[in-house]
């Protein structure tokens, strides 16, 4: 079912962004409550409470009833925690975390514009019951007998006769009037005690309150149903009192009875004023409101520092000035006036544009950077849940969350990191009793760290678990038919360990709930390589395992090696290039009809770039080939190209999906003169080479 909200897409976008932050604050807070057994400082507790409160208000305003309901219950509990009227128990933490999960689902519903079909009522009931049990009241207990005054018929005096007499005495001495006032309050969508309080404040302003039911003190303790009665002595006339009260919203019905000395009970006058319902008017407004179509797509947003935006604007301003200068110089050139000077100025403007665009590039990159914290912060909860399921005690240590990396990288490393964390908990860390037997701390530690290193960010996932046994890995790979027993013998310890990255490999004897999700380490490796990153594994049996991931700072701009072949331009990421070489045609040998050379004692398979794309191979004149040696974990391959053009920093453009299968090409780059170069996707190219053409030859 579609969800329609009375909000513009822009408003929804802001709502989602804020809600996401508030949910995170809630989750972090609840987890620290769990860790500290409820002993967290009042300021932190207050901020958790505030997050729930604000989210409740916003979701109700947006019209997401379920989200408002859920946050209301969570807020109630947090309020009790704040007032220390209930304690933090494991059950409560579970309930609140379930609430967080629910909120995330609802946020997603709003994002998708579709209902998920999740029923929130059970959880709401559980939360209510928890509070009721904790406070030792059953929710079924009827509330204190409501205060029910005689409603329309004034069968008798509202107040005790002695009070009326006292009021009359005061009124007479001051030559003023006495009124018995009864106000019926609207109780929907308002705060009846506050309205009553406002009425009392108004009456106090114009006279003396002799008595009231409920009293001011009652109001401050929320003791009111829907009726307020006041005995008032005032010099103001009846009409003015009545109008004054009626101007306060939510006063549905105001009944004023003037009390006279002689015949105080018989001659009561009734003045009843009712306000027109505003419901109809409201409905009209509602119908006119724009509703958001459920198909509207909300694009992801990023918060950018205003300073960065200002700087960007300044730089763009400079570019606009440059454009004007260029136009005027071109004009001069056209008119052959002051041509020399115009040319010189054009040169200067060109230099200036160069400097400005460099700064622009730097700033935009900065704007695209996000701290890894945005990704890391969901891990503590995940590790907690996984450890609980696996019956293990795991402590997650995170270092360097403030390291910044391009947002598109962050999005794409989420799954690989989750997989590695799952593995660490499921396969790495031992159960507490086993750890105790091994003289290890019964709580295992998983350390997730990030730090910049030159143009790379290095992320490490390290556990102090049982490590990976290369012999066991090798045996398993043989058993699964991934590698021949002969070949296994020749593998080094490191190579054997790296078999975990082979497609179809998994050491778990049985697929567990935690790790067995059909994603293998090979996928993790492939995903990281797609980002021009890499992964390595270091392990020691009995001590633990470390995965070391290297990632480029950004995907948007790439340093490449440009080359040309058969009139096509190609760019190859520098990170994948081992070296370039000029090879004499005479050195080429043929292995299974394939070209290869002996490069410093190793066989290097060679392939024409055209062969990789099934294009006709050009005749290259001269005695030499230019060869680009590309590397990956499996080995090296030399790509024969017509002409090397040099290094260039290019802006990566993704290719349209309309182009269909573009294996071997990850994108395109537009060069200085408007030419288009294909950016080669080295891992998939090499896979192609090793799979279909040079199997075995490149892996020795």
């Amino acid at each position: 079912m579609g969800l329609d909200f009375e909000a513009t897409p822009e408003e929804i976008k802001i709502f989602l962004e804020e809600a996401k932050e508030q949910i995170q604050t809630l989750e972090d807070g609840i987890m620290s409550l769990e860790k500290e057994h409820g002993e967290i400082d009042p300021e932190s507790l207050q901020s958790i409470f505030r997050a729930a409160h604000t989210l409740k208000g916003s979701s109700a305003a947006l019209g997401h009833v379920n989200m408002a309901k859920l946050t209301h219950e969570m807020e109630t509990i947090l309020d009790h925690l704040r007032k220390k009227s209930i304690d933090v128990t494991p059950e409560l933490v579970e309930l609140l975390l379930d609430g967080i999960d629910g909120l995330r689902i609802f946020n997603d519903e709003i994002y998708q514009g579709k209902e998920s079909g999740i029923d929130v009522n059970d959880l709401v009931l559980d939360l209510q019951n928890f509070v009721a049990t904790a406070l030792d009241i059953t929710p079924d207990t009827p509330k204190k007998a409501p205060f029910h005054p005689d409603q329309t018929d004034l069968k008798g005096p509202l107040f005790d006769a002695s009070l009326e007499t006292a009021a009359l005495e005061i009124a007479t001495s001051l030559n003023q009037n006495v009124f018995e006032i009864e106000v019926r309050l609207n109780t929907e969508n308002t705060l009846p005690p506050v309205r009553a309080y406002q009425v009392m404040m108004f009456l106090e302003d114009i006279g003396q309150l002799i008595a009231s039911e409920p009293t001011l003190q009652d109001l401050e303790k929320d003791r009111i149903e829907d009726t307020l009665k006041v005995l008032l002595v005032t010099k103001t006339d009846k009409k003015a009192v009545e109008d004054g009260i009626a101007s306060i919203p939510d006063c549905k019905k105001v009944t004023l009875t003037a009390i006279k000395k002689a015949n105080k009970t018989e001659k009561k006058e009734k003045i009843i004023s009712a306000k027109p319902s505003t419901d109809l008017a409201r409905k009209g407004v509602k119908a006119e409101k724009r509703t958001r179509s459920s198909e509207t797509v909300i694009s992801p947003t990023i918060r950018v520092d205003v300073d960065v935006l200002d700087d960007l604007m300044n730089l763009v301003g400079e570019l606009v000035i440059d454009r004007t200068r260029i136009n005027s110089d071109i004009q001069k050139l056209h008119e052959r006036k002051e041509a020399e000077e115009a040319l010189e100025k054009l040169g200067q403007t060109g230099n200036h544009i160069g400097r400005v665009t460099e700064k622009l590039q730097e700033l935009i990159m900065k704007a695209r950077l996000l701290p890894l914290e945005t990704l890391f912060r969901k891990f503590p909860r995940m590790v907690r849940d996984l450890a609980l399921k696996a019956e293990k005690e795991v402590q997650l240590v995170m270092v360097g969350e403030d390291t910044e990396i391009d947002r598109s990288v962050i999005e794409q490393i989420s799954d690989p990191l989750i997989h590695l964390l799952r593995n660490a908990i499921d396969h790495g860390i031992e159960k507490p009793e086993e750890r105790a037997r091994l003289n290890k701390n019964s709580t295992g530690t998983v350390c997730l760290s990030a730090e910049p290193e030159e143009n790379y960010i290095v992320i490490r996932i390290k556990d102090d678990g049982k490590g990976i046994d290369p012999a066991k890995i090798a045996a398993s790979a043989v058993k699964k038919g991934l590698i021949t027993p002969q070949k296994v013998q020749s593998l080094s310890v490191k190579e054997a360990t790296e078999l975990v990255f082979m497609p179809g490999f998994s050491t778990a004897e049985e697929v567990t709930q935690v790790s067995g999700r059909g994603v293998g380490m090979d996928i993790v490796k492939k995903n990281l390589e797609n980002l021009n990153g890499s992964i390595q594994v270091f392990t020691e049996v009995g001590k633990g395992t470390e995965f070391r991931i290297e990632l480029p700072l950004t995907l948007a701009i790439m340093r490449t090696l440009l080359f040309q072949s058969t009139d096509n331009l190609y760019a190859i990421p520098l990170s994948a290039v081992a070296e370039t070489n000029r090879i004499s045609k005479a050195e080429i040998k043929y292995v299974d009809n394939r070209k290869a050379i002996n490069l410093r004692g190793k066989v290097l398979p060679l392939i024409h770039i055209e062969e990789l794309f099934n294009l006709p191979v050009p005749q290259i004149s001269g005695d030499f080939y230019f060869v680009i040696v590309v590397k990956n974990a499996k080995g090296q391959v030399g790509i024969i190209v017509e002409k090397l053009l040099g290094e260039e920093e290019v802006v990566v453009k993704t290719l349209s999906k309309l182009l269909g299968e573009t294996r071997g090409i990850s994108g395109a780059a537009i060069l200085g003169q408007g030419e288009v170069a294909f950016i080669l996707d080295v891992p998939s190219l090499l896979a192609y080479v090793t799979d279909s053409r040079l199997a075995g030859a490149c892996c020795n």
Partner: protein
């Protein structure tokens, strides 16, 4: 033109209120918590303040007290959630004029504004 300061920590709520008031011909400024509101109120004068209660840095009640110290004539409407009656009463005691309840109903807000400004 009547100038209104909308104080709320949720920019979503500020945006809604801002839109409603602008559509009804008011000039709107926004503040994101009590402290920010106080700061703006010191620098500029407003005919009306619409004030959320639960906010970081300085809550709405504290802000009402300070603004009233600064300008005893200040007209303030509190934005309250169901359940915050005690806080609203406290704010009224401190000098706030009225309140509206979240989720907002545009006609009720306009009704309250007219009442407070009259």
């Amino acid at each position: 033109m009547t100038k209104v300061l909308v104080v709320d920590d949720a920019s979503f709520m500020r945006m809604r209120m801002n839109k409603l008031l602008t559509e009804n011909g008011y000039e709107v400024d926004e503040a994101e918590n009590g402290l920010d509101a106080l700061d703006k109120y010191q620098k500029d004068s407003y005919d009306l303040v619409i004030m959320d209660i639960t906010m970081p840095a300085m809550d709405g009640i504290e802000a009402v007290k300070h603004i009233k110290d600064l300008d005893p004539e200040a007209k303030i409407i509190m934005c309250s959630a169901i359940g915050q009656q005690q806080m609203v009463i406290e704010a009224l005691k401190a000098g706030a004029k009225d309140f509206v309840v979240k989720p907002f109903q545009p006609d009720r807000i306009m009704e309250s504004i007219k009442r407070v400004l009259s």
